[in-house]
Symmetry: C2
Subunit: 332 residues, 2 copies
């Protein structure tokens, strides 16, 4: 059985939208039953009206929840919070996965210190598949660790490769995000990481890539620190908004623009969907000994529904076992 | 008189495209004469056919030029190169500005160590106006210094404010690029920079901004290290290509898509132009005691023409004097 723990209280729009997303997921389960159980963790009040799905849910009461601006250290002290309890479920093997739209740092703390890390991994990292001209690229770390060591970047690369394989890439290539393609580019950190990646990954390592390579799909996995990864992710969001905004303005300006925009609506919709973080719903914190899915803080029901699907797939595909095997291979 | 030194030999497509760009600029000068002189520095062969513009050019022979993969330290040793000689012209006040599409690190070395810095500036930074929903935001540092100190970020902010004013913003607001909006976000560097910016800029400092804020135009100046700045700039380029590519593919797929794309062509063209680095031609290395314009390494004639216009405007607007005054004010 696939057991998913849901933090009902995490997220800017919790618990209402989290609940609505869970209902979407459960409605689907009811129509097309699968061997899945949703462990919903929340304040007693928020747990109401889940009874209708009793075949597929287990309700777990929490007395506390973490606000969005919680400090990561507080996350570990507040053991009655929904996020902490959900993490404990994974730790105790009562759940296979946790889904939360709560504070990123808090979830990272709970994942690392409550659930625990896979052997050989120093820090879990956020892995996000981003759209490219061809299909997608796995960006890792997309925001978990603002500061990293060169050897962590190697670990991120190994996890990114496994993730890309799970998503269907047969022999993924890895690029190191840098400010130029030449070997000697970047800070001391990038230079050392370059040497490590070359030594351990051999021909799987493509070399340095630049910001424009991410969405061009030059490689299958882009490895970077969580600071640069976050800047890149958020910049994509900003450009997409700038473009959709400009198109809207133009459509208003002239009849040509309006007719063009109307006829072209389907394409624009597809594009927007491709670049909308909600489409992907949630991203994995890889390196944890349990499936951890971080949904966007601003998640609505659709995003939560998708995040629950992401978690289900992660468990179905045995993502944790694959990460462990990959780490064993590299340590031999 | 406004005297612009042009490095004829720098750039992937040098000298042909650099020359063609200079001709575009000179043709315009001939039609509408201004008090401008172009000091063209290049190998003797490349200087041919400039005679037709003798009223507006001075030709300076160089015996060497810097290849695009030159090491910054070599840039300072090869004193017969076109880039070095052009920098010397600015140093000796024989020119007001230098324009080069050559290696960024080499130009930064020449700017810093041949031309020299403005008092109070530790490191020159690359300042680029990027398009936003409203108008533009100055991104500084867009790629000159991969590693920075918190006090440099303050200097970048002061220069960015002056630049934004020159470009027409009456009371520019500054944001610090970070991985979250809260004060305690980022690495030690961002935390210290936040405190410095708050102390010295007072209400001109908006606080932390994220990657998506760049193109949304949340602030007028986005301050960051050259590593993150470069990643952000290049990511914008990649997203723009992804989008124009998707639109092209869709247009091919269906008659609806094709008609929509055709009618919508003007808007798409405008958008592409907005996001095309060639439109801006060149970016200023601010903090140098002379106008230094870095054109994209892959510049074609249009980009060089625009870079020469950027340099001319910089000199006309007294950008160096304004930077000096701003640094004096902050030091008082």
């Amino acid at each position: 059985m696939n057991r998913i723990a849901l933090d009902l209280m995490g997220g800017d729009r919790a618990p209402e939208e989290i609940k609505a997303g869970a209902f979407m997921y459960l409605d689907e389960l009811r129509k097309k039953p699968k061997d899945v159980k949703l462990l919903v963790v929340g304040l007693p009040d928020a747990l109401k009206s889940f009874e209708q799905y009793s075949d597929f849910v287990e309700l777990i009461e929490a007395q506390d929840y973490l606000p969005m601006d919680v400090k990561p250290t507080d996350a570990l002290r507040r053991r009655e919070s929904s996020m902490y309890i959900a993490s404990t479920l994974v730790k105790e093997k009562r759940a296979d996965a946790i889904v939360s739209a709560g504070n990123t740092g808090a979830l990272l703390s709970c994942a690392t210190l409550v659930v625990g890390r896979i052997k050989g991994i120093d820090r879990p990292a956020l892995a996000v598949p981003v759209p490219t001209v061809k299909d997608f690229t796995v960006l890792i770390d997309a925001g978990a660790n603002a500061e990293v060591k060169p050897e962590w970047l190697l670990q991120f690369a190994i996890m990114g490769i496994e993730y890309a394989k799970i998503l269907g890439k047969s022999s993924p290539k890895v690029g190191l995000l840098n400010v130029g393609s030449e070997e000697n580019k970047g800070t001391e950190r990038e230079k050392q990481a370059y040497a490590l990646l070359k030594e351990h990954l051999k021909e799987t390592f493509y070399g340095n890539v630049e910001g424009n390579d991410i969405n061009l799909g030059t490689v299958d996995v882009v490895v970077t620190d969580g600071f640069s990864g976050n800047i890149a992710m958020k910049t994509m969001e900003g450009v997409a908004k700038l473009i959709s905004n400009t198109i809207k303005q133009e459509a208003k300006k002239s009849i040509d623009g309006l007719i063009g925009a109307l006829i072209f609506a389907r394409t624009l919709k597809k594009l927007k969907k491709k670049l909308d973080p909600r489409t992907y719903g949630g991203s994995f914190f890889l390196g944890v000994d349990g499936v951890v899915v971080k949904a966007h803080g601003n998640s609505d029901r659709l995003a939560i529904y998708n995040a629950l699907k992401v978690a289900t797939n992660g468990v179905d595909q045995g993502i944790i076992e694959k990460m462990k095997e990959a780490m064993n291979r590299i340590q031999e």
